[in-house]
Symmetry: C2
Subunit: 240 residues, 2 copies
């Protein structure tokens, strides 16, 4: 195994953007490409490490940047959500940046452009759902503790991307009625969808740096492990 | 591989009962035991075949009988639900028969009695949830298109069995509010639980003989395959 990281500068509305391609160069044949969309903070080492785990599974991974080169946040910032909030207020711009990132994924070395998926964490979960909602040419998407409010414009019907939503039942950002509404939305969209709900699990359950249980945001090792396993099953099925 | 079926006559309230033990006798060491609780019709070839699939995975399987020897139904009967309805009206009796079946599982040849789980289909899904609810000494339970109404007496707290619920989102026996209530019940009980919901999927999704889509009861190949995979992941985690 020879995992390699490559910075990718790419274009798009409001760009340039700076993503990271991560793959095992020992693979000779093109691999399915998996785009990873980070949480509220934007690309960071946690995402790069998860991209490496995808590469170890035999996927060519790509950490997408929807904020723009240099636009990164940390929890210590006065307003860690400023880049996210700007895009939440302009879902068309978000969609177009996601589509530019997906187009970039398909051009990367070592990727089979006919076999692509996306995973996303928190805000990134909303992003990958938006890819499915807009009918992006992608085989499947996985949301980990995502955010479920749909954009203020119509979804396509039929959503052709298969969808796996890994959900903490105690997530304060998505109480039961919001999760039920997501199921109804995806059903109306004709999507092939699954929602895996984990008990006693809040927001950010995959994030080992999430330590705010009093706000419902905390790493949960069981849900972390199970959702990663579910993602593997899902990707395995997509690219069988 | 040398899969063997053995009829097991056992005792319990309202017995005798007739179950079927299914295991691969090529295994020398004791295997985790998985009890399978059938749907409304009681033990039949579909259950025996699923028990064989469990045996092929390396488990020692046991198809439980909660109706009593000779009490079997078919879809062609005037009242296929008569045995089920009698037990639905007496959840204490149902519980006691389940506990007798579980105790029998632990005595079977080739089983490690410290490692047990149960899977159940439809009414059998209710049964395995009742095992968790009453605090049975069992590592985990899997409900496939189960029925979620709790018994009219209190559950234990903490439910120690881990729980996987594989659920068709369009199941007319369990609309969203019933599924949400189950999540709340299991949360209140302190159970380690997961609910996997599948879109465009009704009741009976694992049952290739289920052909009543107009009543929301139909085989769904994707949910069938995915739930079997999820069960494998779950059992693998239980007995790792």
């Amino acid at each position: 195994m020879a995992i390699e990281r490559n910075e990718i500068i790419y274009d798009g509305p409001g760009g340039p953007f700076e993503g990271l391609a991560v793959r095992d160069t020992d693979w000779d044949d093109p691999r399915p490409g998996v785009m990873l969309v980070p949480n509220v903070l934007g690309p960071k080492e946690m995402d790069f490490a998860n991209a490496e785990r995808l590469a170890e599974l035999g996927y060519a991974a790509f950490v997408a940047d929807v904020y723009g080169q240099g636009n990164r946040a940390t929890r210590a910032d006065d307003d860690p959500a400023r880049f996210m909030n700007a895009l939440n207020a302009d879902r068309e711009m978000l969609r177009d940046r996601l589509l530019a990132s997906l187009a970039t994924l398909k051009t990367l070395d070592g990727i089979d452009p006919a076999k692509t998926a996306a995973t996303g964490y928190c805000f990134g979960g909303k992003c990958v759902l938006d890819l499915a909602r807009c009918g992006a040419d992608i085989s499947g998407v996985v949301s980990f503790h995502g955010v479920y409010d749909p954009p203020p414009f119509p979804n396509v019907t039929v959503m052709t991307a298969k969808i796996l939503v890994c959900h903490g039942w105690g997530d304060p950002l998505a109480p039961p009625e919001v999760t039920v509404a997501l199921a109804q939305e995806l059903t109306a969209g004709g999507a092939d969808w699954q929602i895996h709900a984990y008990g006693h699990t809040g927001h950010g359950f995959t994030d080992i740096s999430a330590t705010m249980p009093e706000r419902g945001i905390a790493h949960q090792p069981d849900a972390d492990r199970r959702s990663w396993r579910a993602m593997q099953d899902f990707l395995g099925e997509l690219f069988a």
